[in-house]
Amino acid sequence: MQYMLLICTDATAPEDTGPSDIEEWVEEMDSRGIRLSGQRLRPPTDATVVKVRGGDVVVTDGPFAETKDWIAGYDIIECTDLDEAIEVASKHEMARRGQIEIRPIWPFE
């Protein structure tokens, strides 16, 4: 099964000043054939929102929802089941520094 890991910030997360180990995570998940792709995302201050209303394209700055927490990146992973996806997500440094939402990919049938 494929899942998207939404790598999110969490304003309530305890301070974690330890060194980053994201490269080790990427290396492990790539070598296990789990991580298919993934990127960091620029912060919401660099976001643009587009809507079409009454035929007009409406462009605004900023994220579509005002929340304290935002999506900082994503990974697409291939796992046997949710428990494996949970294990993979729990090893990501942002599970300690922020939070990760696991969403199953919904393929077109």
């Binding site: 089941d81 949710l82 199953p104 919904w106």
Partner: protein
């Protein structure tokens, strides 16, 4: 064939075989909805067929075959429409499977129903529906929601298991401890469903409580030396102490007999011994006592006492106090009040209960006015007691409890 015989056989099969049949069908088809529907169909068919042909010698095997055939029919029909190769492969295994070789299936079912990715209310509902075999209507009543709300909750839960890829298995060793904690709370709920029977007329639905005990033993064995097994042992002891008193809890007409009036010679010494052994083993492991261990210790105070008067209520009150620290709850406080009333006198207990009543946290809970009424009666304040018994009566969930309260009411208005 007498309807009553058929009803009893169906109730027995529902409690002991339903989960096994569902678990088996899920394992083979991977489809929770199909598994439950076909099992339901098999029971529906049994209602009409057993009334004319009689109850088969092996009701479980009969139901399994009918459910299996129903699943094959449904898969075959959808297979001809979609020519789904996978489903045809399933069909093959379905015709070959021997149900009773899959003995751990119910455990697998429980761990899946109790997966932390499901909301707690969904876990409980799914376990009661799928493992315990309660109807959606019964579960809805127990959780004070409408049947359609509960139906939606169950549909969503089953859909999430499939869509989110929640594995259908007993978790591997490194995941067992955390998953077991969630399972314990659901198992205890299951036990209580059987023991206090919030639904129907029978006070004790023995197959449900037996099932909860059996599954708890299994989970404890699975956990081995893990510190979490300690709480499992506590839960096991707690269930066994309750179960040991089963025979003495009701009289010949099915009316409730309270702990203090129960015939202690009816208590099952084998179950008490097993419970004491489980509690001793848990104590030997020196883990910090959690909610189940403390409740088991309380239950042990009652079952080891030679008479109600000889119960160490001071110790019971102290254990309830410790329980209130680990898991603060107004129900625990209510029980502490009763123990305090027994060890220090009704006034001391009444004081705590009045504080609880004033806080309003137990509004609508029939045991609050019932406990208050008992203490008032003991103090000879019969008019006030009668008022409280009437309040409790209006809130009592089942007929046996209502009859018990009516008797008490009659005593205090005599």
């Amino acid at each position: 064939m007498a309807i009553r015989v058929v009803d009893e056989a169906l109730a027995e099969a529902s409690a002991s075989e339903r989960a096994r049949i569902i678990a088996t069908l899920i394992k083979i088809t991977g489809d929770w909805e199909l598994a439950e529907d076909c099992t339901q169909d098999a029971f529906a068919k049994a209602v009409t067929e057993w009334a004319t042909t009689g109850v088969p010698t092996k009701p479980g095997a009969w139901l399994t075959t009918v459910a299996k055939n129903r699943a094959i029919d449904r898969l075959r029909r959808s297979a001809t429409e979609t020519r789904a190769v996978a489903e045809l492969a399933v069909l093959e295994s379905l015709t070959e499977v021997d149900v009773h070789e899959l003995d751990d299936d119910r455990l697998r079912l429980i761990f899946t129903c109790c997966h932390p990715a499901l909301a707690m209310e969904a876990r409980v509902a799914l376990t009661l529906r799928t493992v315990a075999g309660l109807t959606t209507a019964e579960i809805a009543r127990a959780f004070l929601v409408t049947e359609s709300t509960m139906t939606k909750r169950l549909v969503r839960a089953r859909a999430k298991i499939k869509a989110a890829g929640i594995p259908y298995r007993v978790p591997p060793a490194h995941l067992l401890p955390e998953r077991a904690t969630g399972v314990f709370s659901v198992l205890y709920l299951l036990f209580n469903e059987g023991y206090s029977a919030s639904v129907g007329e029978t006070l004790v639905r023995a197959p449900l409580t037996r099932e909860a005990i059996r599954l708890t033993r299994l989970v404890v064995a699975l956990l081995g030396d893990d510190p979490l097994a300690t709480e499992g042992l506590g839960l096991l002891a707690l269930m066994l102490f309750h179960q040991a008193r089963e025979e003495s809890r009701t009289d010949a007409t099915g009316d409730i007999i309270t702990l203090e009036h129960q015939d202690r010679t009816l208590w099952n010494p084998v179950l008490i011994a097993e419970g004491r052994a489980a509690l001793a083993e848990a104590t030997r492991r020196r883990a910090r006592p959690g909610v189940y261990l403390l409740q088991a210790a309380i239950a042990q105070c009652h079952v080891v006492a030679p008479s109600a008067e000889a119960t160490d209520f001071g110790r019971v009150a102290r254990l309830y106090e410790a329980l209130g620290v680990v898991s603060p709850s107004p129900v625990v406080e209510l029980n502490r009040a009763v123990a305090v009333a027994m060890s220090q006198g009704p006034e001391a207990g009444l004081e705590i209960i009045d504080g609880l009543a004033a806080s309003g946290t137990l509004e609508g809970y029939y045991l609050l006015p019932a406990a208050r009424a008992d203490l008032l009666r003991r103090l000879g304040r019969r008019t006030e007691a009668a008022v409280e018994y009437r309040a409790a009566l209006a809130l009592a969930p089942s007929e046996v409890e209502q009859r018990y309260l009516q008797r008490r009411l009659a005593e205090s208005t005599r």
